[in-house]
Structures are given as structure tokens and as C-alpha cells.
């Protein structure tokens, strides 16, 4: 039984459809991610969960109770805002105590819970500091302390790490995950950064253009994207347009690429994924494109167009008779521009995408 569930939720702003018919479930204790490019509706979805926006249609249920029309102050969810939204006129203690005072807790309880929240985010002794005396990372911790001090039934994060610099971001990320797990909280985390989502979340839903495209564990999404938009948003991907030529009755798929006219073989898991006489997209990650190895299947002839040095790995662009492919290699030794080469697209790594 899910803790939180959104059912066919939609929200428009004027003529733009920000969130279109989104349904999702979050289980108790789950760290759930909403991932998508900016403007995809993920923040609006989060704000509807928080009660800061009202859906035009659809419903939101929490612990089996309909909370669609419940104002935010009666939901008891903690939220960490992108800009932290710390109260500039209050010090650290008062910021963290805000939600407790709104609940009319006793003085002793407020003091105790604020102290333990600050302890948890490793800011003990910062009680009296003003907001402008804190660094970005410290402000971020205060925002988290403030959200967990109310012992939220659900913790919501709206790109909380995007204002931190890179090194601090990675450090805070692992601390955050550890904290949420330790407290046994359920979290919904919005981000446009796939690496962040992969590192933090148990399960992720990818949103593009207001729609929920695919949900799953980070690894599943990365390795088996089902949609073109997911495949192209999550990391780099070679998208190959091809047509099925083999019989649709077998799981053995034979495809002809529209560019280059190569023949590719791969296993078709569901029949409807590759109807005959209709172009489909096949994806393969650059790191799975092999150069100059002796693979038996799906080996194409081509020549190297460009080699781009990128530090630990380099990108090699290959032109296989008009079909452009990117390969990620660790070493570029022995590779030269204009050189002839073979490209092997292993059937295990080819993914059929839904059109």
C-alpha cells in the first residue's frame, strides 16, 4: 500500500499544460526522485504534493486519505526549498523552531527538538547566528533542520543542492541520504541532475513536457529506457532509426538502419515494440559502442570523423556509411581521424524504444 499516491493529476498555467495526467505512488520509507529537464513540471508536481498549488483535476492521497484540497499547513510535510526560504529576520534557532512554535509546543520541547535537529545537520552551537552570517552550505543545513524538526510525515526537496558548488554538493548529497535513511523518513526529491538522482534515489520517475515518461530504479532507467525522451535525457545515447525486416512473430529481430542501410540483430521482447514497416528507434550508450573488436554480430564498417579528448574518457565519432555513432573509449592510442575502423553494436546493449 503506497504512502502517497497521485492519481491523474493535471495542472495548467494559462494555456501551458505544466503537469499532464501524472499518476505515481511513493512507498513508506522510499527515497523517491522526480527527474526531468527544467520546465518539465516536476517542481509543480512537488508543489501540488506540498499543497502550494492546487491540481486542476485528479487527486492526491496520503495514507489513503484524500488531501487534494488540504492547505499546506495542515499536511505536516517538511519542505526544503531551492532558495532555502530561510526567514531573514529570525536566527538559526528561531528558524528551526518556527514549525514547532506554530504547533504550540512547550518551551522545553522546542529547545530539545531544535537542538537535536541542529545536531543532526552538524550545526550545533549555531543557534544565535543570523542568516546572513551563514555560508551557502550552512544555510542549506538550516533549511533541512527546519524541515525535519517538525518530524514530517513526508519530506519534500525542491532541487536543494543546486545552489551549492560542485564539491560541496557531492558531500552534502551523501550526508542527506544518510540522514533521511537514519530517521526512516519518506522523501520526494526533485532535481534536473541525473547523477544526483541516481546517487540519492531508490526509485525515479522521469518527467518530460509535463508527462511522466518512465519510473523505475536508477539502473533500469539508465540501461533500459523505454522512451526516446528518457533515453536522450538520461546521459548520452546513440539513437538509431531503423525498420524491422524479420517476421514479427519471432523474438529474433532483424532491423535495417535507415541511415547507412546496415543490418542489426537484437532480441525483441514485446511484439508491439517493433511493428513491421514502421520506423523505430534503437538506442545504445556510447560506452557500449566498441571499436575495432572482433565481434561476430552487428559489426559495421566505418571511418573515424573526430576524436574529442575529454579527460578520463574520450569521445570518438564514427561515420558508418552515413550512420553517425559516438563511442566512449578510455584510450585513443592507435586511433586517427579518417582511419577506417569497425564498430560493434552488441545485441545485449541495443534497446528498442517506444515511439
Amino acid at each position: 500500500m503506497p504512502l502517497l499516491s497521485l492519481k491523474n493529476v493535471s495542472r495548467s498555467f494559462g494555456s501551458t499544460r505544466a503537469v499532464a495526467d501524472v499518476s505515481l505512488d511513493v512507498a513508506q520509507g522510499e527515497f523517491f526522485g522526480l527527474l526531468g529537464p527544467s520546465g518539465c513540471g516536476k517542481t509543480t508536481t512537488l508543489r501540488m504534493i506540498a499543497g502550494l498549488e492546487k491540481p486542476d483535476s485528479g487527486s492526491i492521497e496520503f495514507q489513503n486519505a484524500d488531501i487534494t484540497n488540504l492547505p499546506p499547513e495542515r499536511r505536516g510535510f517538511g519542505m526544503v526549498f531551492q532558495n532555502y526560504a530561510l526567514f531573514p529576520h529570525l536566527n538559526v534557532f528561531e528558524n528551526v523552531a518556527f514549525g514547532l512554535r506554530a504547533r504550540h509546543k512547550t518551551k522545553a520541547e522546542v529547545a530539545e527538538r531544535v537542538a537535536s535537529a541542529l545536531e543532526l545537520v552538524q550545526l550545533p552551537g549555531y543557534d544565535k547566528r543570523a542568516m546572513d552570517e551563514l555560508s551557502g552550505g550552512q544555510q542549506q543545513r538550516v533549511a533541512i533542520a527546519r524541515a525535519i524538526a517538525i518530524e514530517p510525515a513526508l519530506l519534500l526537496f525542491d532541487e536543494p543542492l543546486s545552489n551549492l558548488d560542485v564539491s560541496l554538493r557531492e558531500e552534502t548529497r551523501s550526508e542527506l541520504r544518510e540522514l533521511v535513511t537514519r530517521l526512516g523518513l519518506t522523501a520526494v526529491y526533485v532535481t534536473h541532475d541525473q547523477e544526483e538522482a541516481f546517487a540519492l534515489c531508490d526509485r525515479i520517475s522521469v518527467m518530460v513536457g509535463g508527462k511522466l515518461m518512465q519510473s523505475g530504479r536508477p539502473r533500469e532507467l539508465y540501461e533500459e529506457p523505454s522512451e526516446i525522451s528518457v533515453a536522450s535525457f538520461l546521459g548520452r545515447n546513440n539513437l538509431i532509426k531503423a525498420m524491422r525486416v524479420s517476421s514479427s512473430k519471432t523474438t529474433d529481430g532483424e532491423f535495417k538502419t535507415l541511415e547507412g542501410g546496415h543490418t542489426l540483430h537484437l532480441t525483441v521482447k514485446h511484439e508491439e515494440l517493433a511493428p513491421l514497416n514502421k520506423p523505430v528507434f534503437i538506442a545504445i550508450r556510447p560506452e557500449h559502442v566498441q571499436l575495432n573488436t572482433n565481434g561476430a554480430e552487428n559489426s559495421l564498417r566505418g571511418h573515424i570523423r573526430e576524436i574529442v579528448f575529454g579527460g578520463a574518457t574520450s569521445t570518438v565519432r564514427v561515420d558508418a556509411n552515413g550512420l553517425l555513432l559516438e563511442a566512449l573509449v578510455l584510450r585513443t592510442d592507435g586511433l586517427k581521424v579518417d582511419q577506417e575502423c569497425t564498430v560493434v553494436l552488441s545485441p545485449d546493449h541495443l534497446t528498442l524504444l517506444k515511439n
Binding site: 492546487k54 530561510l86 527546519r146
Partner: protein, 571 residues
């Protein structure tokens, strides 16, 4: 289930918004819509029937046409002169730095905070035919008669330029500061000369600022009353004609002229509201660095700039210094001398011991305070309605919002004369919206008029504070469990009060020196300071009049310093 849903709907209905809407609507109907409608209706009626006769008769009179033409001419002339003075000064002081720059910059807005009546008074003492300058030149050159008379068009234009040039100076300066420095640099790198940069890049971006300054100057000049009254000579302006008609008890004529004056002043407001939108856009679009001031390197140019700065600084403070000097003059000690010959503190002593003086101070302070505090409370009502909030959005749509903000601005855009006459007309006899209560003739008429005239300032100040308030703060408070009232008292209020109180103080000090509207409707029970100043001046008690003026300036200065501190507290 059904009953539960109903309960939930009742609980979620924006009741607070409904209450706020009712309060706001009541104030606007009683204070803005009804009074303005009554003057229009009275002007269109004669002996109970609808007719245009009042207008036909008025407009066939040469004096009325003359007043309309003079008012418009004076205002257009004022706009041009203020632009000629204010814009170059803004360029000089915003773009360059040199010794003396800060001195002028600190004093530049002084005329804006001087009450018009006090400014008029100071001008008479300084530039009048028996003022310090005229006497000085007469004595120096041993002339038989004063070298000039401070009267008519030149006097009015000079005074208007002195008091209203800051609109151009301040707004042009702000506009220049907003312009992205890299735009001018980009134009230069594309081969444009300095002149082309000015004409094709800077001026087009300044247009909104210049337009706003022109409109403000025009509106203020149309409303000008004290200067035409005291040294307008035989220049007829509408505000003065209305005043005279009311003194003759020609109420219908006064009302009809009031409508004409309102019609001539209001288009400026519409333009002004349009401009507001573009200004926001310009401010939002700016992301680049503001341009740094250039140090003037050439010695001669620097000396010239410094001279201009010092000269203008002297011009700015001279009227105030004059007022100060005259306030210490012994009665009768200033006849043909350049400066008064004997000094005394008797004027101030009288001010603090005379029960009459104490009474007018008490009246002005009480009435201004009532008006300002009411304006503050009311501002919170209307701003809460005008903000785009989930709860209010359902109840007060976009069209309503626009109408409300226009109605709020109307009393500010209308000349004080119009506001006073319309309130007097609407609530001058029983049977109005107030039932059998007659507002005219009571103490309350002035607080009401002060409130209407100056509440737009407070609304504006609060609106500016609210716009700076990060909306996620209130959302954060909500998500932490704070209910609407807690969000307001614990987050919104602590963050916006400095701006709101600064605006309230501004409204308070302007009301303190109010003359235009007061002179039309005051009664013995609420005689304000300005009326006392004017009557001392009529009785040639120059020292006493000046002493009133100085005390007023001191109160205003203290309030402005406090307001400035609060503004800084906000940011």
C-alpha cells in the same frame, strides 16, 4: 460524505478575502467613486434637470478659457524647464564624479520634501520684491525701486522649476543607473560615436523614465495652488479659480471647474499606469553591471563641474536658509534693509506659548496621524487583495485587481483642490451615502481628505516592500504548519513593516503641511498649521510665518531621517 464536503468547502472558502474586499470596496465607494460621481452629476444638472448649460456658460466666459489655457501652458512650460534643468544635471551627477558631487546629490531632492506653502513663503522672502535678493541689489546699486517684482509668469515658472525639477533629476538618474553599461560599450565597439550612443542607445532606454518625470511634473503643476495664490499676479489658473468661486459661494461654478480640472489631470494617470508595466520589464531584463562613474580628468572641466555643483547646492538651500534667518527677525526690523536688522527668538517663544499656535499644531499632528495610521491599516487590506495569492485569486480576478489599483491611485493623481471640492460636494448636505450625517463643517473632513490624498503613497510603499518579499518564505511558513494569521504576523509583517512605516511617515509629513485642500474646507475646530502660516503672512507677521515654516521643516527632516533609516533596515 455530502455534509463533509460542504463543511470542507465552507472551511476553504476565502472568507478573509471577502471581508477584505468589503472593507476595500466600502472605502473606495465612499472616498473615490461616490464623491467624484457627485461632482460630475452636480455639474451636469440645473434645477433638477440634466443639462450641459453649466459647461456652456463657463466655457463661453473668457476668464475660464484663460484659466484653462494658463493652467495647461504653465504645466507644459514647467515640464520643459524642469527637463532642461533636471536631465543634464542627472547625466552630470550620475555619470561623472568630481569634488562637490556628493554635496549636490545629498541636497538634490530637498524641494520635494518642502511643503508647497513653505516653499512659497521662502521664495517670497528670498526673491520677492522686498526679499533679500531684491533689497540687496537695490541697496548695492542705490536704486530708487526694487529691481524686479516677483509676479506673474516668470515667478511661477521659476518657482515651479525649483520645486519640480527633482522629478526629472531623480527619475533620469534612476533610469541611467538601470541601463546596462555593456550596452553602451557594445555600441561603441560596433563603431558608434558617443553622440550616436546617446541618441540611439541611452535616450531610447531612458524614455520611460523621462515620460514618467514629465507626467509627474505635469500633474503636480496642474495642481499647484500656493504659488499662483501668493505671486501669480493676474495669471489665472484653474485651482485658483475654483478657490475663488467657492469663496464667492458659487458652488456650481466651482464644481464644474473642478470636473474640467480633473479631466485635464487624469489622462496623465492612465499614461503613468501604462509606463509602470514597461518599467518593470526594463528592471527585470537588466542583468549586467551598472556603469561606473567616470572621474573627470581635465582640470578645467572639473572646475566647471564643481562650480555647477556648488552653485546648484547653494540655490537649493538658499530658500531654506532665508526662511531660517527671517524666522529670527524682530517684527518691523526688516523694511528696506538687505537682511533684517534685529534678531530675536520671540517668534519661536510665541509659537510655543501662544494657545492658538499650540492648537493648530495639535490639530495638524492629530489629523495627519489619524490619516496616516488609517492609510497604513488600509494599505494592508488592499495589498493583500492585490497580491496574486491562491486564496484571493478565486475571489478577486485580474480585471478587479486592475480596477482596484486604478481607483487607489485616483485621489493621488487628482489635484488636492479636486479632492476637497468633491468631498465637500458629496458630503455637504444630509441625504448622502452617510445618511443624515454632514461631514462638511466637522473636524473629520480634513482627516478624511488627508487620508484620501496620501494613502496612495502608503499603498505604493507597502507594495514595493511586498514585491521584495520572497514568496517562498510564506510558502515555507505554510509548509511548516503556520496558518494564515501566523504567516502574516510572524513572517510577512516583520519583513515589510520598515517600508510600510517609512511610507506612513512620508504621508504623515506631507499631510502636516497640507494647504491646497485644507484652505477650501477647514473650520475653526480643525484649523491646520498651513492656515496659520497663510494668515500670519497676510498680516505681515513675516517672522512668525517663517518660524512656523522652520518648525515644520524640522519635523519633516526628523521624519525623513527616520524613514531613511527604516528603508536601509529593509535592505
Amino acid at each position: 460524505m455530502k455534509a463533509d464536503q460542504l463543511k470542507e468547502q465552507i472551511r476553504n472558502y476565502p472568507w478573509a478575502s471577502v471581508a477584505l474586499f468589503l472593507v476595500t470596496a466600502t472605502v473606495l465607494i465612499y472616498g473615490v467613486i461616490y464623491p467624484n460621481l457627485s461632482v460630475v452629476i452636480t455639474s451636469l444638472q440645473r434645477a433638477g434637470t440634466w443639462t450641459l448649460a453649466n459647461y456652456r456658460e463657463l466655457l463661453s466666459e473668457r476668464t475660464v478659457i484663460e484659466a484653462i489655457v494658463s493652467s495647461l501652458g504653465l504645466s507644459v512650460g514647467t515640464v520643459l524647464l524642469c527637463a532642461i534643468v533636471g536631465v543634464p544635471l542627472a547625466f552630470l551627477f550620475e555619470r561623472f564624479t568630481f569634488p562637490g558631487r556628493r554635496l549636490f546629490a545629498a541636497l538634490s531632492a530637498l524641494p520635494l520634501v518642502l511643503p508647497p506653502l513653505v516653499g512659497t513663503l521662502a521664495f517670497i522672502f528670498l526673491c520677492g520684491e522686498s526679499g533679500i535678493l531684491a533689497h540687496g541689489i537695490q541697496n548695492l546699486l542705490a536704486l530708487q525701486s526694487p529691481p524686479w517684482r516677483l509676479q506673474g509668469w516668470p515667478a511661477l515658472l521659476l518657482f515651479h522649476t525649483y520645486t519640480m525639477y527633482p522629478f526629472f533629476y531623480v527619475l533620469t538618474g534612476a533610469g541611467l543607473r538601470r541601463i546596462d553599461a555593456s550596452l553602451a560599450e557594445a555600441a561603441r565597439s560596433l563603431g558608434a560615436s558617443k553622440l550616436i550612443v546617446l541618441r540611439r542607445v541611452l535616450l531610447p532606454q531612458l524614455t520611460p523614465s523621462l515620460l514618467a518625470a514629465a507626467l509627474l511634473t505635469f500633474m503636480t503643476s496642474m495642481a499647484s495652488f500656493s504659488a499662483p495664490l501668493f505671486f501669480g499676479g493676474d495669471v489665472r489658473v484653474l485651482t485658483l479659480e475654483i478657490f475663488r468661486a467657492r469663496q464667492r459661494s458659487d458652488d456650481v461654478i466651482a464644481v464644474t471647474q473642478t470636473v474640467i480640472l480633473a479631466i485635464l489631470s487624469l489622462p496623465a494617470l492612465i499614461f503613468f499606469q501604462r509606463y509602470e508595466g514597461t518599467r518593470r520589464f526594463a528592471a527585470a531584463a537588466m542583468k549586467g553591471a551598472p556603469r561606473k562613474r567616470v572621474t573627470i580628468a581635465s582640470g578645467k572641466a572639473r572646475a566647471l563641474a564643481t562650480t555647477v555643483a556648488v552653485l546648484f547646492a547653494i540655490v537649493l538651500v538658499l530658500p531654506v536658509v532665508t526662511l531660517f534667518v527671517v524666522s529670527f527677525a524682530q517684527e518691523g526690523s526688516w523694511t528696506t534693509q538687505t537682511l533684517p536688522s534685529a534678531y530675536t527668538v520671540a517668534n519661536y517663544q510665541r509659537l510655543f506659548s501662544d494657545p492658538y499656535a499650540a492648537e493648530v499644531f495639535f490639530n495638524s499632528v492629530t489629523m495627519s496621524a489619524i490619516a496616516a495610521v488609517a492609510a497604513l491599516l488600509w494599505s494592508f487590506c488592499i495589498i493583500t487583495l492585490l497580491r496574486r495569492r491562491r486564496a484571493t485569486q478565486k475571489f478577486v480576478g485580474e480585471g478587479w485587481r486592475r480596477l482596484l489599483s486604478l481607483l487607489v491611485l485616483i485621489p493621488w493623481a487628482l489635484p488636492g483642490t479636486v479632492v476637497a471640492v468633491s468631498i465637500a460636494e458629496a458630503y455637504g448636505k444630509p441625504g448622502s451615502l452617510l445618511g443624515s450625517f454632514v461631514l462638511v463643517g466637522t473636524f473629520w473632513i480634513l482627516p478624511v481628505i488627508y487620508f484620501l490624498r496620501f494613502m496612495p503613497l502608503v499603498v505604493r510603499a507597502l507594495q514595493a516592500s511586498m514585491e521584495q518579499l520572497d514568496p517562498t518564505l510564506e510558502e515555507a511558513a505554510g509548509s511548516l504548519g503556520a496558518r494564515a494569521w501566523q504567516r502574516f504576523t510572524r513572517v510577512t509583517l516583520p519583513l515589510v513593516w520598515p517600508g510600510a512605516v517609512a511610507g506612513t511617515l512620508l504621508a504623515f509629513v506631507i499631510a502636516l503641511g497640507e494647504y491646497v485642500a485644507s484652505v477650501l474646507v477647514f473650520v475653526p475646530a480643525n484649523r491646520p498649521i498651513s492656515i496659520a502660516i497663510a494668515s500670519e503672512l497676510r498680516d505681515f507677521n513675516l517672522g512668525a510665518a517663517a518660524a512656523y515654516g522652520v518648525v515644520l521643516i524640522v519635523i519633516i527632516s526628523i521624519s525623513m531621517v527616520v524613514a531613511g533609516k527604516l528603508e536601509r533596515l529593509r535592505s
